[in-house]
Symmetry: C2
Subunit: 212 residues, 2 copies
DNA sequence: CATATTTTGTACTGATCCGCATATAATTAG
DNA sequence: CTAATTATATGCGGATCAGTACAAAATATG
């Protein structure tokens, strides 16, 4: 929007950084260490900006985190939307989803860092109403994406009409959360993959009974 | 073990506190705010002990947390063992389990605090190898308890011989983790209960096909 | 070229952090 | 009753925390 690469240049000295890039770096920093344990010195090093630049561009530490959170949610929704829009059987879609999650959750410079929301927002959610609401919103957003996908599968006949789609969506989100927790605890790729396949198989098998 | 109520009194001034009780208070403090954001001043207030007493009894902040973690795991294993040892159908056992989780995760003075391990250990797991290993151990321990229960169900004929018990156990643990995340985000009891019932139904329905 | 405006860089502030030094209190051993 | 031992209480100290003041740098305007 208002980064250096964009045309609309103001009056004074031009910014020497790209806003989205800085937010990505800040996101990485929070993702590794969590919100509370990530100091402004850490953020200064991670982003390459100095403190006053960070403050003038984003506000205080909390505001910077919220900006990183918002970007993380946007990126997640975009990625999942693309992934779920592929025209393929439900089973393949779910397997693809969980495979991507496995890769994402196991990535990280300092170690397997899991999911940004689980690794940073969950702890703060009790003492910070804004983070709590944002976390709730992010989870609901994921539910919604999965609901849409399951509804599509239902329309195609891959799921029966009596299938409880809203619950399936929440189970899918919960499984991702569980996989993120496991990844952060050091689980290997095979374990995560098997978990995803486990839920996938369960959903498909449970609905494969009545084929009249 | 070595608390004031116990007989074996040493030489000097007797302790004015109960070790297990202090650990419970410390556990509550960490549970609410997480490890990093819970200061020693918080812990002093929460436990009622002053700093030197805390340090001489448990060591530094990290050691105190690890002691609280260990106690939390012991308590969890004890509770789950009791709950899963009840002689009842698998469906009832799972529903009882998830009902207990719903209640536990929604309890808390300052708000719905979820699961101790998810709320405190997950964030620290990347930067702290000891916490990471303990978290892995705790998750594995829960898996083991659920595996035992599913194996018992299999022996009784509630699950077929080809059922993938180890995965069912991990899915159960993951669902508890997902519920804990949701609870911390402010989810109501109905949502959590439905999630638990969702997985329970899925496991039972997926295995109810081949009744020859 | 001079001035206004915005960003950057350095350094600082008061608060809070964790851990400990020191002194007092309470108990046992002799 | 005296000495040894352990726990409690107060308060300190260096490090780190989040946030900001102030000056230098870089651009646009006139």
């Amino acid at each position: 929007m208002d980064d250096v690469s964009n045309t609309k240049r103001g009056r004074g000295r031009p910014r020497a950084f790209d806003t989205q890039n800085v937010l990505s770096r800040a996101q990485d920093a929070f993702w590794n260490g969590g919100y509370a344990a990530t100091s402004l010195d850490n953020l200064v090093i991670a982003t390459g900006l100095n403190r006053p630049s960070l403050y003038s561009a984003f506000g205080d530490k909390h505001a910077l985190y919220m900006a990183a959170f918002t970007k993380a949610l946007q990126d997640t929704v975009a990625t999942l939307s693309d992934l779920l829009s592929i025209d393929e059987p439900l089973q393949q879609a779910l397997m693809r989803l969980f495979a991507l999650a496995t890769d994402t959750y196991r990535t990280g410079e300092t170690g397997q860092r899991g999911c940004f929301f689980i690794s940073t927002a969950v702890v703060e959610a009790v003492g910070d109403a804004e983070i709590r609401e944002s976390l709730r919103l992010a989870l609901d957003e994921m539910d919604r994406l999965f609901e849409d996908r399951f509804l599509r599968a239902q329309r195609v006949g891959e799921l029966p009409t009596e299938a409880d789609i809203p619950i399936y969506a929440k189970l899918t989100t919960a499984m991702l959360n569980g996989m993120a927790v496991r990844a952060r605890a050091g689980a290997d790729a095979q374990t995560l993959t098997r978990m995803g396949r486990g839920l996938t198989t369960l959903i498909l098998d449970a609905n494969a009974r009545q084929n009249d």
